[in-house]
Symmetry: C2
Subunit: 337 residues, 2 copies
DNA sequence: ATGAAAGCGCTAACAG
DNA sequence: CTGTTAGCGCTTTCAT
């Protein structure tokens, strides 16, 4: 049982009023040095800890925010989730916000109503929760998802552009037989990256046969399957370049390539997505599309914080541009076929 | 600004006392059906949400627990951290506890004193925080660490045994030139697994030369470096088997092996640690030492919950045994040298 | 510069 | 079964 040392005990010991103690706690400048000292002495002597619930209640503020993450299998093993968590965590730390972490399976009731605000880390199959939260009047911030049909703030990434960047780069290198290993197409990121990629190829009149579009789900496992399938193709139809929707998947593809005796980048060029530092230490530096996940998350929390504190009324909607990072995993296609 | 609908407003609208409203909120069985209905109607109509700070203050209870994780680089990319997070999250969900997530850098003040309890996910360089929490009278539960010198509850894994298991298995297969790629030796898991491994080899009079002990840090990167170093050795001194302290590191070692033309398991046997499902889908099923991270985490929270609610007084200290899982990555050493 | 007193929104005896 | 009445521990006017 935690002993209940309250502000009163401190006041009594320091022989001042609780008000003064409160002032000291909150660092009011107008307290006599002597009293400050006495109070601080009492605080440490008594091991006093202000009761945060009481503080909050009295202050009328609520500085607890929820982080809601879709719980589909493997999300946690993704660089994305981790960066996001780091970003949110970091922001909460510096803003002195409490973060209540919540993994959602999609449509569970989501009893997060006492929260000051909610950060939705991507939304996939849980749009309803977002709408409910909005209806409840809770401040919301959606990260990594551009949402047009709900009155909610978001910070997203231009994934269409990301796909386009990958296609343009590969095309520019001279590749005409390319493949793509997608993320889960139910996620906006996966869908849009594919869309942008396909569209750009299309405009360049470069064909993208169905069997070169491998539907993954962000997992290394799905990337492995795709790679095995792709590399098993006979020389004439095997892609000379592959666009993977995440660096982790790209890394797995590289691993499979080595296992199957396919050289990277000589036999096949690979471009990933994320700019995961892990991709720097493999056998080849991975060319990738960088997206600022950590920053998105951090900014999201900061904006949310402003909204909670009434310093911001309007919705905040931003779409960040991804950026091509060229390293060593792509070269012009070998002159074979 | 979230509008301030309080219990009073609900009471007024439902024409009952606030106590009755409170009872409805807390699902007291003794409320007249009619009133329950009226109150519920009012609640939804007013979009009322109880103020959790007030509830907590009034109840004097605290159903918020903190999860403190060491924030060393890469922790999040580890299966361990993720499983732990899942386990804690799951338990909190079913126990209706709020979980405040906290990544610690080691000796930051850790202002989590308003928490009902704290789960320490491993402790590495943050023993002081644990001691402080104990001194503060906060209930604590340390996961994945056997701590003898502080009066704290823990659920740990017998890592000594884990290392021993790996050594015995490899020895049994006939290996006499083995190597180990360790986790961060500042973590108890890394230290003990090495210890158990070394000791067992020692007792079997099998030499473990210094250059066969590669100090990693749980990261794939460190595993890659170790593997490159190990596989670059000339035939006569290159190990015929490697014990990696985590499956992720083991997987990276396998990848490097393929890159360098070393076959697994023909040329080198590999045993990992964790039983990470990811290791099922690689080129070879990974033989590993299973440890129940998820279960540890979940159980930890449940016990902590009991302690917080006074249903348990004594410390809870358990050490779980890891278990060998044999798959395809180990075979007897080839008859060469 | 300091203290008294009035809440913040809710729960928990204690009566009815 | 329901309402009255104290607080929970802290912040915040408002005097002094």
């Amino acid at each position: 049982m935690t002993k209940k040392v309250s502000i009163k005990d401190v006041a009594r010991r320091a022989k001042v009023s609780i008000t003064t103690v409160s002032r000291v706690i909150n660092k009011f400048p107008s307290v006599d040095k002597k009293n400050v000292h006495k109070v601080e002495e009492a605080i440490t002597a008594l091991k006093y800890r202000p009761n945060i619930s009481a503080q909050r209640l009295a202050r009328g503020a609520n500085n607890t925010i929820g982080l809601v993450m879709p719980g589909y299998p493997g999300i946690f093993h993704s660089f994305f989730a981790v960066e996001l968590l780091r970003g949110v965590g970091h922001a909460c730390e510096s803003l002195r916000l409490d973060m209540v972490f919540h993994i959602t399976d999609g449509n569970a009731p989501l009893n997060l109503n006492y929260l000051g605000g909610i950060v939705f880390a991507d939304i996939i199959e849980n749009r309803k929760q977002v709408q409910d939260a909005i209806d409840d009047g809770v401040h919301c911030m959606v990260i990594n998802n551009v949402v047009q049909d709900m009155a909610v703030s978001y910070i997203g990434v231009n994934n269409l552009k990301g796909g386009q960047l990958a296609a343009e780069y590969l095309l520019g290198l001279g590749h005409r037989r390319v493949a793509v290993v997608t993320g889960n197409l139910k996620t906006q990121a996966g869908f849009d990256r594919l869309e942008g990629f396909v569209k750009t190829l299309d405009e360049a009149k470069v064909e993208l046969p169905q069997e070169h579009v491998c539907r993954g789900d962000w997992s290394r496992r799905s990337a492995r399957q795709a790679a095995e399938f792709l590399f098993a193709m006979e020389e004439s139809s095997r892609p000379t370049a592959i666009f993977a929707h995440s660096d982790e998947m790209a890394l797995e593809i590289v691993a499979v390539a080595y296992e199957m005796g396919v050289r990277v980048p000589e036999d096949v060029s690979i471009v990933g997505f994320d700019d995961n530092p892990q991709a720097l230490y493999g056998p080849v530096g991975l060319t990738t599309i960088r997206q600022p996940i950590f920053e998105m998350a951090e900014r999201g929390v900061r904006i949310l914080h402003e909204m909670i504190n009434g310093k911001r009324e309007e919705l905040y909607r931003v779409i960040l541009d991804p950026e091509l990072v060229i390293r060593d995993s792509c070269v012009p296609p070998a002159a074979r076929s």
